[in-house]
């Protein structure tokens, strides 16, 4: 498994460019070879040697990869070896698509290519998706030129056109590629699903293909990752509430029965848990319908609604201290999670995020601090 040979993919000529085959140049030292991966179905001969042919329908293992990636587990291991791949039986005149080597980007592309004959040039974007890699520059002008060179693309195809995903445009300068190598860059559609239509239309994208979709599905797809990020803070809160309940029992010198302590802890946790779920599910789901533009504000509004509902239905009888703590903490939690959602959106600018944080962050920190003090005090008054 760990031999150097596994990086010697046949489509990359070592003599021509050994630099691209060094293990340290690959995103992960322990990913499988393409041949071991379920998605290689054969080989195609080219003037520069055989090229792996990839399956277009996704296989069971791809599904596992997707689940792993969505849960944020071992993303670095989900890198596709960079190089040239064949879809169907491409010839010298078949189009060349360029892709990132993040497994999910690669899967999203290949499952849309059934029935087509073309080449896929996978860059080394260090296992990062197209959009993020373009922003960082790893899916960039230099990498495109380097990879075109490394696989000797000019000997494989007769034409000189590369089709890049539109979302690579922040990293790749089409006119610079043109100036520095013999190939020219065309930006294809945003979504891989539109590629067959794009090719059929003679490499033309209609306006809809140029937009990033951000519907309900896109807004909620990252929620599982957000949820896993919540486990630690929630565990901390459970511990705090448990200790507070234990301390109260000790102060009152009442018998500390574990079952009662636990049930109190979890009933105390409930409003916070719901606030967290509102922050990661409801804020993204209702994003277009919550008034205001700032995402922290949108979160704050839903948190305030929840604090009001909880006060009205559950805690009218409870003390004013715990109620105040809820009004300080619940909107702060949802505002923070709303603000955090900026990283999952497709429309928030850095300038905007910095501006909203300048207002939101001091408010959230103050409210959380006061809220925690009030919460702790409420147990002993």
């Amino acid at each position: 498994m760990m031999s150097d040979n596994k990086f010697n993919l046949p489509m990359i000529d070592d003599q021509h460019d050994s630099s691209c085959c060094k293990p340290e140049d690959n995103p992960a030292a322990d990913y499988e070879t393409a041949a071991e991966a379920g998605w290689v179905v054969g080989q195609t001969g080219t003037p520069v040697g055989p090229v792996y042919q990839i399956s277009t329908p996704l296989v069971y293992k791809d599904l596992l990869d997707t689940v792993r990636a969505r849960l944020g587990m071992g993303r670095m291991k989900l890198a596709v070896p960079p190089g040239l791949y064949a879809v169907g039986t491409p010839d010298r005149f078949s189009p060349v698509l360029v892709s990132a080597n993040y497994k999910l980007s690669f899967d999203a592309l290949r499952r849309e290519l059934t029935g087509l004959n073309l080449w896929v040039l996978v860059l080394n974007t260090k296992g990062i998706n197209v959009w993020c890699a373009a922003g960082k520059g790893t899916f960039g002008t230099d990498e495109v030129i380097r990879m075109v060179d490394a696989v000797q693309l000019e000997k494989v195809v007769a034409h000189r056109t590369l089709i890049l995903p539109q979302l690579a445009a922040p990293g790749v300068s089409a006119h610079e590629v043109r100036r520095r190598c013999s190939f020219r860059v065309i930006f294809g559609p945003v979504r891989a699903a539109d590629i067959p239509a794009f090719i059929n239309a003679g490499n033309k994208a209609d306006p809809v293909m140029r937009r990033i979709p951000f519907g309900l599905r896109e807004r909620l797809v990252l929620t599982p990752v957000e949820l896993t990020a919540l486990i630690k803070p929630l565990a901390g809160l459970i511990l705090l509430l448990f200790l507070l309940n234990t301390a109260v029992t000790l102060v009152n010198q009442s018998p500390a029965r574990p079952a009662i302590l636990l049930s109190r802890t979890f009933s105390d946790l409930m409003p916070f848990l719901v606030a967290a779920l509102i922050g990661v599910f409801l804020v993204p789901a209702l994003l277009p319908y919550i008034p205001g533009r700032s995402l922290a504000w949108k979160g704050f509004i839903l948190g305030l609604v929840w604090a009001l509902l909880h006060w009205h239905f559950a805690s009218l009888q409870s003390g004013w201290l715990i109620t105040s703590a809820h009004f300080l903490l619940l909107p702060a939690i949802t505002a923070f999670l709303g603000m955090n959602f900026t990283g999952s959106t497709t429309y928030t600018s850095l300038s905007g995020v910095v501006r909203e944080m300048k207002i939101a962050l001091p408010v959230i920190i103050t409210a959380s601090g006061l809220g925690m003090i009030t919460l702790i005090t409420s147990y002993f008054v």
């Binding site: 922003g135 539109q166 140029r210 937009r211 533009r293 429309y347 850095l350 995020v353």
Partner: protein
């Protein structure tokens, strides 16, 4: 549905005197910020801009400038505490180096 973020906040600038009207900015912009008329590009939906930098990088005339960056509060937060590597695992694709 097209989302718009905060008003009048982005760093996008277009020098129409340099613009040749090639329309590549319209092609690469994922938010349809530009329109083409009378042979030059115009910024017609400024608040939709997410500062990805695709237009500036692909303008052959160098007529567009924008401070590119990733609009991610978590990344900004981690940067404030010098914990950049903690974002999105070690696999974070964003960079804040152009900001500051």
């Amino acid at each position: 549905m097209k989302f718009r973020y905060l008003k009048n906040v982005v760093t996008l600038h277009l020098d129409q005197n340099k613009c040749s009207g090639c329309g590549l900015c319209l092609e690469v912009c994922p938010q349809q910020v530009f329109t083409l008329g009378h042979g030059v590009s115009t910024i017609t939906d400024r608040d939709a801009c997410l500062e990805c930098g695709a237009c500036a990088r692909n303008c052959p005339q160098d007529a567009i400038s924008v401070r590119p960056g990733v609009g991610c509060a978590y990344a900004v937060l981690m940067d404030m505490f010098n914990l950049k590597g903690k974002c999105c695992g070690d696999n974070c694709g964003c960079t804040l180096e152009d900001y500051k």
